[in-house]
Symmetry: C2
Subunit: 232 residues, 2 copies
């Protein structure tokens, strides 16, 4: 309790790198030499190594045994895989959250408050600030869903996918019209969840994911072939 940091240097390096990869500041394909990270972070090789291994386990870094680490690349294939997988997991999580909310008034209150915030966001004029505010709110919503998920495996797996999704958002530019639609999708999810309608809530998540994927593909569609790496 008295620990100055509570977090080890490995934690700090891990968090910092994860954030930079998520934000796209470290572009896909960027080589991550341990020594370079040592200079950059001030930590020694041991915690840097640990952070790299963790990132590799999360799929944010590609690790080649004796030749170093790179920020993982993003292919059209990997995007499709990611969203297919999310489409499998997140409706299930939403179902659990819906049932949890039905049984827990406090949780219901939290989601009701978020619904109000989404509605308020919907009425704001489109702007970069609104987009930022929306995505920040959507993040909190997602975390609330994750938190309401009882199944440890499901919770951890979904949480591990989030940085990938966030990175995609940050690598492609935000489309204001997409925000418009996404707000209404979130309202639909909130309504179903608050109504205790698990099927509808799950369907809402699935639709939301399908729409997100379509938008991302539209904004990313560039390369000649399918297996082409987008960035890096």
């Amino acid at each position: 309790m008295s620990a100055p940091g509570e977090a080890s240097k490995a934690d700090l390096v891990h968090r910092q790198l994860k954030e930079e990869i998520e934000l796209g500041e470290l572009a896909p394909g960027t080589p991550l030499s341990e020594l370079w990270l040592v200079e950059r972070t001030g930590a020694s090789r041991t915690p840097v190594r640990e952070a790299l291994r963790r990132l590799a386990a999360e799929g944010l870094v590609d690790l080649a045994p004796r030749q170093g680490a790179r920020v993982s690349r993003v292919s059209l294939r990997s995007v499709r895989d990611l969203f297919d997988f999310r489409s499998l997991l997140e409706p299930a999580a939403m179902r659990e959250a819906t049932e949890a909310a039905a049984a827990d008034p406090e949780l219901r209150r939290v989601f009701a408050a978020m619904r109000t915030e989404f509605a308020r966001t919907a009425r704001r004029v489109p702007s970069q600030a609104r987009s930022r505010a929306f995505y920040e709110l959507a993040d909190r919503f997602d975390w609330a869903i994750i938190g309401a998920t009882g199944n440890e495996h499901l919770r951890r797996t979904i949480a591990e996918l989030r940085p990938h999704t966030a990175r995609l958002r940050n690598l492609s530019h935000v489309d204001p019209r997409r925000v418009e639609v996404s707000v209404t999708e979130h309202l639909r999810m909130c309504d179903a969840l608050l109504a205790g309608d698990a099927d509808e809530a799950a369907a809402a998540v699935a639709d939301h994911l399908a729409q997100s994927l379509a938008t991302i593909f539209r904004n990313l569609a560039v390369g000649p072939g399918d297996g082409v790496d987008l960035l890096g």
Copy 2:
């Protein structure tokens, strides 16, 4: 190709520990001091640490920040979570495998051969040897399904759950009658897969998992409460 080991010491330690945990030789709750593992494995602390972190990421080891690692405990809750999660993932994987097999004659041949082996197993007299042979075959079947899964996330996640399942099997004793039923369940899966009936294949997996869970709960049911740790 000329590398003497191809595998780093961290890999070796990781693999060894994983196997020992899976087999139950290292019981849940067993403290895993780094120094003890250093003596035990002959490697130095660095690879030992890396192996421990990896095992922790896989959920086979519980890591308490400044006080060491223990083999992760198994609770009724964790068993339920595991099987609920598998029930979400594996039918989806089976669907993918079914479609892959429909499109790939070579793959179909592999599964047909396995079906034959399952049938042969069914005709053997019940014995410990048959049980071992069956589980070895079932393992190969599972890996074939995993291998036929196109989605990287799905594949990796399912693969990561396998050691947990195997450990449960090894911690509870094998029930010969369960083997009997499980063989027929696998035959049903093979038939559906070879017939290209994805729905039936998925349903077969779901039933198989439900039966497995029921058996494990029957064989483990002991403790007073729900949250009670079984071993360690």
